[in-house]
Amino acid sequence: MAEKKITLNMITCRTIQQGVGMEAGKTSQKYFDACTVMHMHPEDMKKLGIWKNTNVKVTSSVGSVIVKAVETREDLVPGLAHIPMGPWANRIVPAYTFSTGEPCFKGFPVDVEIAANARIMGAVEVLQDACGLIRK
């Protein structure tokens, strides 16, 4: 029986697709495709009970974001997850800096739940939504 929620250790890093997407434009499809994914180990997917390319809700101490769980050629160990840096990853990155100026981009716990039918927001939307700038 798969669990409904698993806890993973999250890191956010650059990828070349994210770099290309960024230069293509923050509102481009390339950027969206590159940054709205979460790299997971196949074992963790099994544990959560999903196949790759399923949308998931990722929740940290500061918030939640919907991204798509995918496998990666850059192997992770089980328990470690990665979302490329960008406004989606930053919806869940804790802003605490340990008085060093650097927030917790790497190594913070997240809960991952299945959210197969949830919509992934756009780059601007995901930020404006957090800032309360979207008029409902």
């Binding site: 060093t100 190594g107 700038l133």
Partner: protein, 441 residues
């Protein structure tokens, strides 16, 4: 007849490749193609000619939409914001030229602001470490010509600095390294089996967040002292073996990235890696270098350095002195603590790269963003002022990750009427002077 501009400097990452060839239409308006660039660099040039580029400043209206305004209006609004605010965050600078930064600093000193650059969320940790313990380093050509042991620790140039490995660190043949890759032993230490790790002769998988302990073990091993059985998931035999091999280097280099700067302990991870490098110099020659990411972020540190004596997070808000304290005068902390009253962003996109809580705080303050393109930050700002792309539509000085400055080249004209950063900042500076002469906003 299209023409080719040679020796063009790539405006993307800190590798600052300076061998690009860009073909340009004969009216100097359109980029037709780019040679030698990596995928990201090429995209940067391609984006220049994308349709729909914003060519005039925009102001957010009450309904959340943006309307076009003139440069004069945008400049006036910005200058008034700066003069009125008692403490402003002026953040970014990594994608602009050193010449533009100088003008920005003058404005900051006049208006009372904190000047911070992208190091603050990137290699700021490295700068703290260097402030604490120095750094033995070298230029990238030294690596190409001499290095026979190369360690990539918590960095992934295959993704973040795509031409680094071929130009400097793994593959090139240099003066004393005629065998190229074959003459070098490549190590990669990471918590993931990255594409860089795949290029390495040896991959050491460290448990996420245990770099400090592992580096401590390397240093302990180098002194011949005892170790626990495993450190950070790495068996002690492996640690001894690697350390002995590193001692055999004639010229060794450690490259590190955000795997160290962002991970628990931050500056301490780099601090101890620097100390390992220092220790290795008792046996042979060793250097260490930060894989600086965002293009001219190094240049911002240099200009702040010679003008104020600090590499980032420079607080001239009181206008009578310059101060620097990472953790206090750094952008994310300033936003977290609501220490500033207004935000001025230039040549970067904190909206995409700052943690959300910092940006929520930012979105509640008057904000001006200066960027060639629409990005996440422009869409939560009061004003977006588009400018020419530095390194594509206007030249200017940029510093490479090893602090080597290169004057970048203009390859095409900016869209008609679009100001450069230098022109825009000069006009804001002038408007600030006018307002202050009149006694404020």
């Amino acid at each position: 007849m299209p023409k080719e501009v040679t020796d063009v400097i790539c405006p993307f990452c800190g590798t600052l490749c300076d061998d690009l060839i860009v073909s340009v239409s004969d009216d100097n308006k359109t980029i037709l193609g780019v040679k030698n660039a990596c995928a990201i660099g090429a995209e940067k040039f391609n984006h220049q000619r994308q349709p729909g580029r914003v060519k005039r400043p925009r102001m957010r209206q009450a309904d959340g939409s943006y309307k076009e305004i003139t440069y004069d209006e945008a400049i006036d609004w910005t200058a008034k914001m700066l003069v009125k605010s008692r403490k402003t965050l002026m953040y970014g600078w990594a994608s602009t030229s050193c010449q533009a930064m100088s003008i920005g600093h003058e404005i900051a000193e006049k208006c009372g602001a904190i000047v911070d650059n992208c190091a603050t969320v990137c290699h700021g940790s490295s700068l703290i470490a260097i402030e604490d313990v120095g750094v033995p380093s070298c230029t990238l050509g030294e690596v190409k010509n001499r290095a026979d042991r190369v360690v990539f620790w918590g960095c992934n140039p295959a993704h973040a600095h795509p031409r680094h490995m071929s130009r400097y660190s793994i593959f090139p043949r240099g003066f004393f390294t005629v065998k190229g890759h074959k003459g070098r032993k490549i190590y990669c230490v990471d918590c993931r089996y990255t594409d860089t790790a795949k290029c390495a002769d040896e991959f050491i998988q460290v448990q996420q967040g245990f770099d400090y302990e592992l580096l401590n073990a390397f240093r302990t091993a180098a002194r011949g002292e005892a170790l626990p059985d495993t450190v950070g998931g790495v068996p002690k035999e492996k640690i001894y073996e690697i350390v002995e091999d590193l001692k055999q280097a004639r010229f060794g280099i450690i490259f590190f990235g955000m795997g160290l700067t962002h991970t628990m302990g931050r500056n301490h991870n780099i601090d101890i890696a620097i100390n390992l490098t220092r220790d290795m110099n008792d046996f042979t020659k060793f250097a260490i270098m930060a894989m600086r990411g965002h293009w001219n972020v190094t240049g911002s540190g240099q200009v702040l350095g010679w003008q104020y004596g600090f590499p980032y997070a420079v607080d001239v808000s009181r206008r009578d002195q310059a101060r620097h304290q990472t953790g206090e005068t750094t952008s994310v902390d300033l936003l977290n603590r609501n220490e500033v009253e207004a935000c001025f962003y230039i040549a970067t996109d904190p909206g995409a790269h700052f943690p959300v809580d910092a940006m929520i705080s930012s979105s509640r303050k008057p904000t001006v963003t200066i960027d060639p393109h629409i990005n996440c930050t422009t869409e939560i700002s009061d004003i977006h002022i588009p400018v020419a792309l530095v390194g594509v539509e206007v030249g200017g000085c940029a510093y490479r990750m090893d602090n080597v400055p290169i004057e970048t080249r203009k390859v095409v004209d900016p869209p008609e009427g679009v100001l450069t950063d230098e022109e825009l900042l000069t006009r804001i500076n002038k408007r600030v002077d006018e307002l202050m002469a009149k006694g404020g906003a």
